[in-house]
């Protein structure tokens, strides 16, 4: 059993990290995500922004169309009435 105990002791023994390990970890974490991840995040943001702008433009377009229809309703109703009245008088 001695060999097993020796193996375990060796495996579980406290080992000091290599020189500069802590510095390297801190430096890496300060650098933030990798370049590829940053590009992915930026691309996702662009896709979301383009989609939102398209949806907003679509919404604006439909709203303006409704306003146009309302304006033409209000403008055409008196014109239609006058047209009928003038026709009625001339007959």
């Amino acid at each position: 059993m001695d060999w097993l105990e020796d193996e375990l002791r060796r495996a579980l023994a406290r080992e000091e990290p290599p020189v500069g390990f802590a510095k390297r970890v801190i430096a890496r974490s300060a650098r933030g995500p990798s370049g590829a991840r940053r590009w992915l995040a930026a691309a996702a943001m662009v896709v979301v922004a383009v989609g939102a702008a398209g949806a907003w433009r679509q919404h604006q377009g439909y709203q303006t169309k409704q306003e146009l229809m309302l304006a033409l309703r209000l403008a055409s109703a008196p014109m239609h009435r006058v047209q009928l009245e003038v026709k009625d008088i001339s007959q």
Binding site: Q60, G61, Y62, T64, K65, E67, L68, M69, L70, A71, L72, R73, L74, A75, S76, A77, P78, M79, H80, R81, V82, Q83, L84, E85, V86, D88
Partner: protein, 177 residues
């Protein structure tokens, strides 16, 4: 160069074809119970035109109608009771339309009902470049300015379409025999 720049900046409102007379209806607005203002310039009309469905017959007519239009400006007021507004409230509008560039082409007064409709044309040479409509009823006032060249017949025919009920003129009382 400075003068040219100022001249260009001064021309901008003309290029944008704003309303052709001031829709100063503050007196009417103050007395109204409800009002609708629609102001569409050339760029908003272009945007709206893109969303008109060419397969829908009514919307196709609208698209054709607005082809030569540079702006539509509408003010519509409702009143709770008759007699709230007076003809004097519309005088600021009529005073502008009495200018040499405007010609009244139709004026209908409904004495019994107490309403009227006036249609004015703005001419440049022989070409129509704008329309003004003043339509009143005891409980409604509508003032419209359409800037640009519009087919008035086509506009009148739109009445009765897309939710506008066709209005029949009041029947003449039958003579008793």
């Amino acid at each position: 160069m400075k003068t040219l720049l100022i001249a260009c900046l001064a021309a901008l409102p003309v290029l944008g074809a704003p309303q052709q007379f001031q829709l100063n209806l503050d007196a009417v607005a103050a007395k109204s119970s409800q009002h609708v203002d629609v102001f569409l310039n050339a760029s908003t009309l272009q945007l709206a035109a893109k969303f008109l469905d060419g397969d829908d017959p009514d919307e196709a007519k609208v698209r054709k109608l607005i082809e030569g239009i540079e702006g539509i400006y509408v003010r519509h007021y409702n009143f709770k009771s008759a007699g709230t507004w007076t003809q004097a409230d519309l005088e600021p509008i009529r005073a502008q339309l009495r200018g040499p560039e405007w010609s009244k082409i139709v004026g209908v007064t409904r004495t019994e009902e107490g309403g009227s409709t006036e249609v004015w044309l703005r001419l440049a040479g022989n070409k129509s470049i704008g329309v003004a409509i003043i339509a009143t009823d005891p409980k409604e006032v509508t003032v419209v300015n359409i800037a640009g060249n519009i087919n008035l017949k086509a506009l009148a025919e739109l009445g009765g379409h897309f939710g506008v009920p066709k209005v029949k003129p009041a029947e003449k009382p039958k003579k008793e025999e």
